[in-house]
Amino acid sequence: MSKKIIMTPEDIRQTLARIAHEIIERNKTIEHLILVGMRTRGLPLAKRLAAYIEDFEKLKIPVGALDISLYRDDLTSLNLQPVVKRTDIPVNIDDKAIVLVDDVLYTGRSTRAAMDALIDLGRPQSIQLAVLVDRGHRELPIRANYVGKNIPSSRHEEIQVQLEETDGIDEVAIISMPAAKERQ
């Protein structure tokens, strides 16, 4: 097993600041914006993006938390079921522009589940996707609007995102595990 660090705390800070600028640029009026973080690590990322946007534009953006366990397509085939956590979106999402935030974009199945979950909650005007890392290997026709870093990876590698809020450290690493079990 070998581990290579791909993003340092400084890289992550700069990347999130850049994505925040891109979100502002793309959404001419950010009054209708909501950032929705996918549990677990999408949530601290969404909060950080909201802090940057508030910093740049002096406008507070609502942040919500989304849990996709109830929308997964692989529940009965998983060895261990995910613990369902609370979905907590503080405002009505009808006619809002939602930016979904996740740490890693991989097969696209989580994003599919997240979009289904959001649409069950209302009719947003649009849904955009921001990810810290895009590692490829899509199984569904899904593409992120904002990408922190493209990391071409093999399926045998693991992309490990650690964040201060959840893991005590800011770091993105690629871990090679020969013959490792496929994740997700």
């Binding site: 949530l43 938390a65 929308y71 079921q81 613990v83 369902v84």
Partner: protein, 334 residues
Amino acid sequence: MRTTQRKDEPTLLMEPKAAVTTSAWQHHHILDLDDFTPEEIELVFHIADAMKEVLSRPIKKVPTLRGKTIITLFYEPSTRTRLSFELAAKNLSADVLNLSASTSSVTKGESLVDTLGTLEALGADIVVMRHPQSGAPYIATKYLKVSIVNAGDGWHAHPTQALLDLYTIGKHKGSLKGLKAVIIGDIRHSRVARSNIWGLTTMGAKVTLCCPFTLLPTGLDKQHYHFPQVSIEPDIELALDGADVIMALRLQLERQQGGLLPSIREYIQLYQLTESRLSKAKPEALVLHPGPVNEGVEISPAVAYCPQSVINEQVANGVAVRMALLYLLVGSKE
């Protein structure tokens, strides 16, 4: 429900403190709480919190159990348990079939095992059953591979009711550890009391049973010292002294032919939960009742509808708790 919803909401967007995982879950069937660990009960509460959020949505439906078939098989009448399971299953998009013994081939003499075999052959994934015979769901698990949920068997157990009671108490009190819970009434015939005694003591609460000795389960009056967290106090005012939680049980009028009570009137005199008796408990004590209520028998109407009463909240929480249980069972392996 909406008004009570807010206060139990965890601090917005907070992550759970300890890492809760479903690896704690060991059950393929839910038969009673005697084999539940505190971790399993915590896990159910945790997922029930998420299910409560689903119930607060304008569209209370998620696709989680699409294509799963859940059959409710009831050999005894029921309002809330059966409806609660049916709603829980439907909110999770499962297909639900309801079978009452009184309108089925049971009336032609079909045995329990044959009926269950039919349900399995029809493709049921989970069978929720209520039966007047204590132990009936245990027999069912010997013959069937499907998950069995005990929705009440005779005088024996009613684990999902106990879990929703524990969950309701936990929502108000934070933790069950060290609470004084008093169970008043017809404990002898009460499967709710039995399952609650297991659940409450597993979660660290102390239980006081309050009833005439004729309504205690046979033998418990002599053997209670094997169960240090459970005590017996037949005097209701002494029992209620300093109580955090009070559970009034339905006096099972249909089972009082055996001369266990001199008269209903005397029972009311001695054991009805009234406002003046309630005042012996802590001021913030919760009043629970598993329903259906015999108003004016085991509980006075004033208490049943007082601000400390969480009887309707129990019903609402029941749906969330049962959704959590169905979710966990579908992922369980035999």
